[in-house]
Amino acid sequence: MEYRTDEQVEARARQIVPLSNGDIDQLKELIDGVRTAADLMESLIQPFDGEIDVSTMSRTVEGNR
């Protein structure tokens, strides 16, 4: 995911809609979760000759193996 810092998130959001400072704070918290999920997905993608192997993925709700 391209937006790595709070400043980048705020700049992107203000490009789109007229957020208040309170909105921005809420959004930053949510985007932390989005970034974590997107990074997790990227980490699971394999080289061209490989396949995603679910059988080696996590066994718990928190994503632990």
């Binding site: 995911m1 391209e2 937006y3 998130v9 992107r12 959001a13 789109i16 809609v17 007229p18 909105d23 809420q26 959004l27 918290e29 949510l30 985007i31 979760g33 989005v34 970034r35 974590t36 999920a37 997107a38 997790l40 997905m41 990227e42 699971l44 993608i45 396949e51 995603i52 192997d53 679910v54 059988s55 080696t56 993925m57 996590s58 066994r59 718990t60 709700v61 928190e62 994503g63 632990n64």
Partner: protein, 464 residues
Amino acid sequence: MSTSSSLLSLSEQVRLVQEGKISAVALVQTQLDEINRLNPQLNSFITVDADGALEQARSIDKARENGAKLGPLAGATIGVKDSIPTKGLRTTDNSRLLENWIPQEDASTVKRLREAGAIIIGKTNLNEFGWSRPSETDLMPPPWSPWNLNRMSVGSSSGSGAATTARMAAATIGTDGGGRARLPAGAHNLYGIKPTHGLVSRLGMDHNGHSEISPLCRTALDTALMLEAMAGYEPEDDMSWPGKIPAYATNIKADISGWRIGIPRTFVNSAPNEPEVVEAFESFLRKLESLGCELIEFDLRGMAEARSANFLVLNSEAYQRHQKSLQLHWNLYGPITRIYLLQGAFLSANDVLNASEVGRAFRNYFSEILTSLNLKAIATPTSPFATAERSRRPGEHSRGINACYTSPFNISGHPSISLPAGFGDTGIPVGSMLTGGLHDDLTLLQLAHAYDQTSNWNSLVPAI
């Protein structure tokens, strides 16, 4: 307390109408009386179509008097989640943005229900656009649970759950993009099936790849009747499944002894399950055993990753749908909803394609697990939490912990049903869930029916 005919299950109501023992008009009037009595305190319905419902009922009564064959849902009063378009009937999505929208067409599911003789009695409440969290600032304030009037109903198909369990409608339909029909089914002592992806067409609604239109009912048989009416191929819908739909209701009785049910014990034990949830789930498993099922503990991988994948795809689709309106009408959206809808704006195409790829891998893996272990289904709780309030704890809500059991099967497309399993300390019901093979929705209904026949959950009525 609710009056006599409204206490009957959908299948019983339909039988009485078909046999001429009660008129559809009388049935509708009873339900309207219940809505008038209860809706002011429950907020289950946003719009009630009294005139339209009575007109549909008169048409059914006339058809019966003329000797016409009535449809399989003749006279059944149905509440439709207010995100599902209904021809000529206001559809607000509980948003000021659509406060006065009157659709010109029914969504295909609604059309199919009407063709089966169902009577659309009104539009049920939801979180704004079925998204984020319930808010007092929504067009219609959030629904309250009929089981505890101090507790909000679990959503987003919250009004649908509340209306069915409070006997304001024979059944309702909701939508389930990450558990938002199964979770309210569990929290309202109901059966709620998220069908296999593509079985029930979303034609006439927005293009949301993993949100399935789902019936919420008081019995397993009612669920089968509803699903049979709702399912079917729609050539104009590229996600619609062209296969033959089984006769779910006719085939619902099955001897389930010897059926193997998988229990992903490590995963279930890793969730922050509240004690009442654990108790209800273990009781549910004992009931399955008493019905002859063989419980097989096994290792299920990838649930957290699949939950994240579904979360990303959902967010991306939601933003795609709302991007222009957010820019044009920012102040018409609720203050919570509009922030949640923005999340997808930060995802790249690659992020979403990665998530879809992980979802596909999980789908194939889960299908292979069912086959290799010869499992008819797997069993889990529906939610780790016994109340809506607990499920919204900061830090857990944004990570989707409340949907840890449900949302992986949205991105995978497998059918999944929540069943009544107990009650929490606050008096709010707790569900357990069965998830099965792609296009084997019938097996889940058969399991649910066998369970329903030997439990008394469907006879319990909220004391309101």
